[in-house]
């Protein structure tokens, strides 16, 4: 079975470490915040200028001056700090954020990522995505393995305009956990009940498959 959105978030949350500063992109990556292991301290960075993002506010806590990068009302966590956009991107571009999790349309064997623009559709912009992929060393891309038509999103070369070139080393899809190095995908783990053959058949780029590919446990 392919992983559910929550299972994908749970699997990524296992990459968190105590004391990590983490930036979570919009969509499924946001769910990772719900699965921080018990007893572990993680601080969420929101690129509009907040480090230490708390839960959504209750009705009486709503503050129009306090939002996240997705423009939703939020609260601050204990020990939070607030700063300007330049300061926020200084911590991102300066490589100070420990882990970045974001979605994508395509990733290729060289670690390039396309996540912001589909030609022919309305272009809204890259927001902070180009800064995040260029600045962070530790990035996990969270996406489905194939699009809704069954086309692989793990490619020999991205076909859509890039968000960043050669910057992605880890991809978690609904079928597999994949690492990227030496110009190839490397299959690390598979979703429960998903065969290596299925993963390989849905991966367009060259993929190295070790003798034993463990199943993810949930």
């Amino acid at each position: 079975m392919a992983l559910s959105r929550d299972q994908m978030a749970i699997r990524v949350a296992r990459e968190l470490q105590d004391g990590f500063y983490v930036n979570l992109g919009i969509g499924i990556p946001t769910l990772v915040a719900n699965h921080v292991p018990e007893g572990m301290e993680v601080m969420l960075q929101s690129e509009n200028g907040l480090l230490g993002m708390g839960p959504f506010p209750t009705e009486d806590q709503v503050d129009p001056d306090l939002i996240n990068a997705g423009k939703q009302t939020v609260t601050t966590a204990t020990g939070a700090s607030i700063f300007s956009s330049a300061e926020s991107f200084a911590m991102i571009r300066g490589g100070h954020v420990d882990l970045t999790v974001l979605g994508a349309f395509e990733v290729d064997v060289r670690g390039s990522i396309a996540s912001w623009m589909i030609p022919g559709k309305l272009i809204k912009g890259m927001g902070g995505a180009m800064d995040l992929v260029a600045g962070a060393d530790n990035i996990i891309v969270l996406m489905t393995h194939a699009d809704k038509y069954g086309n692989s999103k793990l490619l020999p070369e991205c076909t859509l305009p890039l968000t960043g070139a050669g910057c992605i080393k880890h991809v978690l899809t609904d079928l597999a956990y994949v690492e990227i190095h030496d110009g190839k995908f490397h299959l690390v783990e598979r979703a429960p009940g998903v065969s290596v053959e299925e993963i390989v058949s849905k991966t367009a780029g060259e993929m190295v498959v070790p003798d034993h590919v463990p199943e993810m446990q949930f």
Partner: protein, 233 residues
């Protein structure tokens, strides 16, 4: 006005001198921390052919979105746009030009302009369409593109509180692009919720020093919320 006193009493006075074709740098993220009354004043003035540098372009009927109604904007320099129908229409019909800029690069372009730095190298955008035609240099084995800073004829900024000298404090994430925008305009106009006397703000907690601020006005703010998200509690 005398000495360091930056206070003006009317919005007409605050935006005096804004002319067709000028570049205006605006603070705000989404519609959080936007100089909403200064934007309304630009609408009232009817100034046209403006280049607006702002992370976003407001929404229909609020924020920078209202400047689209009378086609006052020629060009937007932003990282994320299109949360309004009018924007989409004018973009698709070619009436509006958009220069998409990565958010961190946009913040840095403002910061650099205010700090007298004409251009800077960044890894952001290298190898993408954003890097096309830009100077590339390698430092310590990594490639960077040259990005130019952006100065505005005007910058329009929203802060929470300021003293009459323009020393200002922002509130929560309404800070966002405002501190950089304040430094990047030849004329910086700041609107605030409260003006206090010099000496009332603790100098240690001033975010924007008054040296950057040319005109200061107190306004009342609607502070609309773009995406109200709540939990049961």
């Amino acid at each position: 006005m005398a000495g360091f006193d930056k206070v003006v009493s009317t919005y007409e006075e605050a935006m005096a001198g804004l002319e067709d074709g000028m570049t205006v740098i605006a603070g705000g993220f989404g519609i959080c921390g936007i100089p909403e009354n200064l934007i309304k004043q630009i609408k009232k003035m009817g100034t046209k052919e403006l280049t607006i540098v702002s992370n976003n372009c407001g929404i229909d009927g609020f924020g920078l979105g209202i400047l689209l109604e009378d086609r006052q904007i020629k060009k937007m320099v932003s990282s994320y746009v299109g949360e309004n129908k009018l924007f989409e229409e004018q973009l698709l019909s070619g009436q509006l030009e958009v220069e998409l800029t990565p958010q961190g690069t946009l913040a840095e372009k403002m910061r650099a302009a205010g700090a007298g730095i004409p251009a800077f190298y960044t890894a952001t955008g290298y190898g993408t369409d954003i890097g096309k035609g830009k100077d590339v240099r390698e430092f310590n084995g990594r490639k960077y593109i040259l990005e130019e800073s952006i100065q505005g004829d005007f910058s329009i900024v929203k802060a929470w509180k300021a003293d009459r000298y323009g020393n200002a404090i922002y509130r929560n994430t309404a800070m966002n692009f405002n501190p950089m925008a304040a430094t990047a305009g030849k004329i910086c106009v700041m609107e605030v919720e409260e003006i206090v006397e010099p000496g009332e703000l603790d100098p240690m907690y001033v975010h924007t020093p008054g040296i950057y601020v040319d005109r200061l006005i107190q306004g009342t703010f609607e502070k609309r919320i773009e995406i109200r998200t709540v939990r049961q509690g």
